[in-house]
């Protein structure tokens, strides 16, 4: 997550809401992953991984497995992981 969030900091638009997960752990995602991203992405608003909430994060950083969620589509695939964008 350190590497992915470092790379994502330059790719994801600044000021947007972002969270970080390992998709296989859903729906009870490990809440500690987004804390690492919170430190690495000071120009973004890093929030807890509530993907099905009404105010869901605009971007999701996913390590290891791909994310399958109707609210999100693939935004960018990086060597460190994938970035998903909320479907508007």
């Amino acid at each position: 997550m350190i590497l992915l969030s470092q790379a994502a900091a330059d790719v994801v638009p600044r000021g947007t809401t972002v969270t970080a997960i390992r998709p296989a752990e859903g729906p009870d995602y490990d809440v500690t992953l987004y804390l690492t991203a919170a430190g690495m992405m000071p120009r973004h608003r890093v929030v807890p991984p509530l993907l099905d909430a009404n105010d869901r994060p605009q971007f999701v950083l996913a390590v290891r497995e791909p994310l399958t969620n109707p609210h999100y589509r693939l935004f960018r695939e990086l060597p460190e992981g994938r970035i998903y964008e909320a479907v508007k």
Binding site: I2, T36, A38, G39
Partner: protein, 433 residues
């Protein structure tokens, strides 16, 4: 590399502590360790003070202020170069190094064993196997955010999204990590992990230097290196916490000069309370132990005053800004039904996957020691901090996960105090404070 150098220069920043005669009389390792503790405290204080007066951190500002403080404290009544020379080996030590004939007080086998243990620990640290998850979840991210924000940003600490990053935890460790970033211009995760070796062997150097006992130093090095590995404590709050706690305990146990004893113990307690919440528990245990064993109220007040003031100021800040904190854990309901499970799980964690050998060895050494009474003070600290850990764990109906994930680290404090007690039990009364 420069990120790690930032940790290595901390003893130079704290060189002023060498104005104490009792510190100058310590061996080289002890002098460096004590100066390192003072340097750590100075750096953290400078970074915190700059945030309080809203001055943004920058390399030039921070280094200038730190250099001025270091030079001012080192100047005192003599040339700073003389102080710098005190950090170097004394003539006798230098001669010993040059002629490769170790003085009689140095045990070559012990030194060789310490080096082997250090190499093993550093290997374990560098392959990241001993890293603590907390480094990645909040110690490191907090430091990165502080550095990038140019100071301790209240908005970040008060953000509800970062409530799980323990915003109410004391700030010393993130500030030291931020110092490393300020020097290097980036956060080095490996330097943070590797700093664990400096804190562990700083603790060993403190015991060896103040007790003059090479075998106790080897036992402490082997036990702590192993326990840190089992506890996965690298990069977390425990390395500096144990370092400051060791300073406080060896100061009140082995240093006879009252002024130096008071100053070093106060520095150790202040550093401990500003590193982790558990540092506050440790400080209370030390105060109780000194009052019971030494019955010196005045010195106890002097030793504990800086820690009490710092902790009070930090708690006032936390409360004023309504930050999330766990200091009031003791006031939570107690689950007596969980006592049995808590005790069994705590014992399992305390075994350190080695049948409790890390505890058994120092206990046996105390039992067969010629001067068991000398161990009273550190032994009482070990007992009180162990009981405190148990007390906090019974505040959850099912603390099994909490104990298994944290107790190997939390119990490093009573384990360290026990190791120091075993060293004290083998000293004659003349060697103690």
């Amino acid at each position: 590399m420069s990120a790690f150098l930032a940790y290595l220069v901390l003893p130079l920043i704290g060189i002023g502590i060498l104005r104490l005669d009792a510190v100058r009389k310590l061996d080289l390792g002890g002098r460096i360790a004590v100066a390192g503790a003072a340097g750590t405290a100075i750096v953290a204080a400078v970074l915190a003070a700059l945030s309080i007066v809203s001055v943004e951190w920058s390399r030039s500002v921070v280094i200038s202020i730190v250099c001025v403080i270091s030079a001012t404290t080192a100047l005192g009544d003599s040339d700073p170069l003389i102080r710098l020379r005190h950090l170097l080996p004394r003539p006798r030590e230098r001669r010993a190094l040059e002629v490769s004939a170790a003085p009689s007080s140095v045990n070559p086998l012990a030194i060789a064993t310490l080096i082997i243990i250090a190499v093993l620990l550093i290997y374990g640290l560098l392959d990241a196997r001993l890293s603590c998850g907390d480094l990645h979840f909040f110690w490191g991210p907090k430091a990165v955010r502080f550095y990038r924000d140019g100071g301790v940003a209240l908005g970040f600490l008060a953000d509800p999204n970062t409530v799980r990053m323990n915003p109410g935890y004391p700030l010393l460790l993130p500030l030291i990590y931020a110092w490393s970033q300020t020097i290097a211009g980036h956060f080095s995760w490996f330097s943070a992990v590797l700093s664990t070796a400096l804190f562990v062997f700083g603790s060993v150097a403190l015991l060896r230097s103040t007790s003059g006992d090479d075998r106790s130093a080897v036992l402490m090095a082997a036990t702590l290196a192993y326990a840190f590995a089992i506890a996965d404590a690298a990069g977390a709050g425990e390395p500096p916490l144990i370092f400051f706690e060791t300073l406080a305990i060896v100061a009140i146990t082995f240093i006879r000069d009252h002024r130096a004893q008071t100053i070093l113990a106060a520095l150790g307690l202040a550093g401990a309370v500003m590193t982790k919440i558990e540092g506050a528990t440790f400080a209370i245990a030390v105060v109780i132990a000194i009052v019971i064993v030494r019955r010196t109220i005045k010195r106890t007040l002097l030793i504990s005053a800086p820690a009490a003031l710092l902790l009070g100021a930090w708690l006032a800040f936390v409360r004023m800004h309504n930050l999330s904190e766990y200091y009031r854990g003791a006031a939570m309901p107690i689950y007596f039904a969980a006592v049995r499970t808590t005790l069994a799980t705590l014992m399992k964690a305390a075994s350190y996957e080695l049948y409790g050998l890390p505890w058994i060895v120092p206990i046996v050494l105390i039992v067969i020691a010629p001067n068991r009474r000398n161990a009273a003070l550190p032994l009482l600290i070990a007992f009180l901090t162990f009981i405190a850990a148990f007390f906090f764990y019974i505040h959850l109906p099912d603390p099994t996960w909490w104990i298994l994930s944290s107790a190997p680290r939390v119990l490093l404090t009573p384990l360290t105090a026990l190791l120091i007690a075993s060293a004290a039990a083998w000293r004659s009364a003349d060697d103690l404070s």
